[in-house]
Amino acid sequence: MSNDNVNEAPPEVESDEQDSFTRRGFVRVAAVAVGVAYTAAIGYPIYKYLHAPIDQAIADARNNTISLKDADKLPAGSTLMFMFKSAPSMLIHFDDGTWVALSAVCTHLGCTLSYQSPSPLIICPCHGGQYDPHTGKNVGGPPPRPLTKFDVQVEPGKVIVTQP
């Protein structure tokens, strides 16, 4: 029995501490919880409100195919700019008759690229990045990655560009 008493004594002290914790601490925890709940209740609608066009842009960017009407008539040696996946892209019809579609967003800091056939390079005017127009490979300047290359399907009356 005495052993039991010894064993019982410490939990009583602890329960005293727990008592004071439950009174003072409960109010504190509750106040923090209410604060967090209010912050979330006010913050979430504001976040969603501000995020709406971003959700839309992300949804648009998921579309992996675009059909460019009449782009098959693009003369050899010229370039066509178009929006694809919420970003500027370029369709190049080379003099040798081959077609290439690339992202036109520089992988360095996002400037829009242009290409003038038959130049051997795509050049970024912002910081002097260079890409190979046939492959999109970054060949000079600061760009860290190659341009995204899309699949091109030329059909009568349209060109279909697909993200592989």
């Binding site: 675009i66 178009f82 860290p144």
Partner: protein, 379 residues
Amino acid sequence: MSNFRSYIDERLGLDVIAAYIAKKYVPMHRYSFWYYWGGITLLCFTVQVITGILLMVYYRSGHDAYDSVRNITYNIPFGHFIRSVHAWSATLFLSSALIHMFSAFFMKAYRRPREFGWWTGIILLLFGLGFGFSGYLLPMDNLGFFATKVGMAMVENVPFVGNGLANMLRGGLQVGDNAAARFFTLHVSVMPIFFIVVLGLHLYLVQKHGMSIPPSEEAKDAGDRKKVKFIPDFAIRDLVMWLMTLNVIAVLAWRFPWELGVQASALAAAPAGIHPEWYFMSSFQLLKVVGAFVPGSAGEAVGMIIFSLGLILWILVPLFDVKTERGRRGRIATYCGLAVLFILVSMTIWGYSAIQKGAHTMKVSGQGPAPLLSGTNSH
């Protein structure tokens, strides 16, 4: 009249302020000229607020942004002038803020107990750069559009939060009408609220601690130091400086009207020789130089780390420049300040000359814009 005075004073306590002003003195010594620059910065800010409010009357953010700025520039009487004054006073605001900061730095005005004056000042300068960056996009012309694209791409590079933050600022994955609307909101409501609060604290601290005097002046006996009354002696000189600044702004706006570039287009390539405003030129060039040594995204990261470390050291200078020997206080800090000044100035000059050379080669190689077309989505 005296009844009215006592009525007002009992309720507003103006006598306290009057008594304070009567006792306010400004030290006079060989470096006193540099005391004017905080006031000049404040004047430029006031001009910004007034012209900004006037521009807001006709400016439309979002889709109509470019057309509304065209309207202000070409149709509304004095519209081009008010817009030019807004842009030029922004330039003078940042110039005088930089002069004010460097003079405070070299006069060691950041020392105890004025550390918070230094820190609030740096916050105000960073806000000033934020105003410049956000304001640059608002007309939605080519230059502002691409400068913002690059700026946002740099935000994207920030680890973990960069992408979400950039999307939130742009209101999309690319800079467009949503970005113009959001930048406008930040530029005219969010940032001014915080700016005014910090500015209030900054000005309160100047009143609380008085003007700082440089170590060379501190070395003199208190009796040998000269000073003038703030009202009227210094205030009149301040006023003269303000009138001169106003004249400079007016002449600049009149002789060099702020241009409006071609309308930004999501499909057009960045124009040759694209560059940021002068106050971002040194960092732009520094990034280019670092990029030449460290290729790829690592170069970007190294550049950003150099900026961040430099800025943190600059902010913390009151904490490590604690040498107390009179007259020789913190030589190292002075040399560091000179080095920073030299780097900023030389990078800015280098940046501009590189762009002029670059624009020349671009013209020679004959890169032109490609034809544009919006595709039809196939769904």
